[in-house]
Symmetry: C2
Subunit: 136 residues, 2 copies
DNA sequence: TTCAAATTTGTAATTATTTCAATTCTATGA
DNA sequence: TCATAGAATTGAAATAATTACAAATTTGAA
């Protein structure tokens, strides 16, 4: 398991430090689209000296190497995502959780003014849990 | 023109102060998806005392009353938009400008776990101007 | 005209992120 | 094995967007 993650990093030309492996492990085990803050809270227990700067550096590196994706939502924080298959996101405006949804068929943009390299699709609304339990 | 904007505000139950009318005018005349920073720079000349807090308050109010929309892009800043017809956005990763694009036909999400109230679609890439003039 | 309520303002606080220099770690070659 | 250069990490400070909030100003109705 650990070896596996190390190998993934090495395959991308990233030397597998304790911090990097931990962050990658967190990302692959938690598909919750965490922010730097959340990751820091979660990993500080096992690596007390882990700094946010390292997490920022690491996630930026992972992103550049194509290991993870990132996006911002209307909380103005960057969320990271280790699921690299193209998908859409649903954000519950109540509990703020972000869920994956399949990316729908999209007609191509007929406009030569724009060279499109990436498409992001966000749904906003209320999740079933909040619908059922927080009726106020 | 001015009367017009005042009336729009009044129709939404918003009293048309100088600041609010100016901000609404800026939004209707500039479809550039400005940030608070940009609006502040632009209007400070004519209203030197205009504070960012007022701009934040006003845009939040306009948004709540359905006069404008807002979204964030990967610059982690909130952009405001007075074009209220549903459309998509293209952001040029070079010049950072944001353009409107028609919102494509989308298949309905078949998932009772989510009640969807809003959909946002962003394209990222390079605009024609940057393609032609900044080839580096 | 008066005054309460609404609005605006400026400052300070908060939050996310970046910068950067100092420290720590690690792999390599003597 | 040991020294050491380069890589990685750290923490503190700087920056940027936003919010909180109390004081000052403006406004509209009585």
């Amino acid at each position: 398991m650990n070896l596996n993650l190390s190998d993934i990093l090495k395959a991308k030309g990233i030397s597998p430090s304790v911090q990097r492996v931990s962050i990658l492990r967190y990302m692959t085990e938690h598909h919750t689209h965490p922010t730097v803050e959340i990751i820091h809270e979660a990993l500080s227990t096992s690596i007390p000296t882990l700094s946010k700067t390292t997490i920022y550096n690491t996630l930026t590196l992972f992103s550049q190497k194509g290991l993870i994706d990132s996006f911002v939502t209307d909380d103005n924080a960057t969320h990271y995502d280790a699921v690299m298959t193209h998908h859409a996101h649903f954000k519950c405006v109540r509990c703020k959780r972000i869920f994956d949804l399949p990316f729908p068929e999209l007609e191509k943009v007929e406009n030569s003014d724009f060279e499109i390299n990436d498409i992001k699709l966000f749904y906003y609304g209320t999740c079933r849990f909040c619908k059922e339990h927080l009726n106020n």
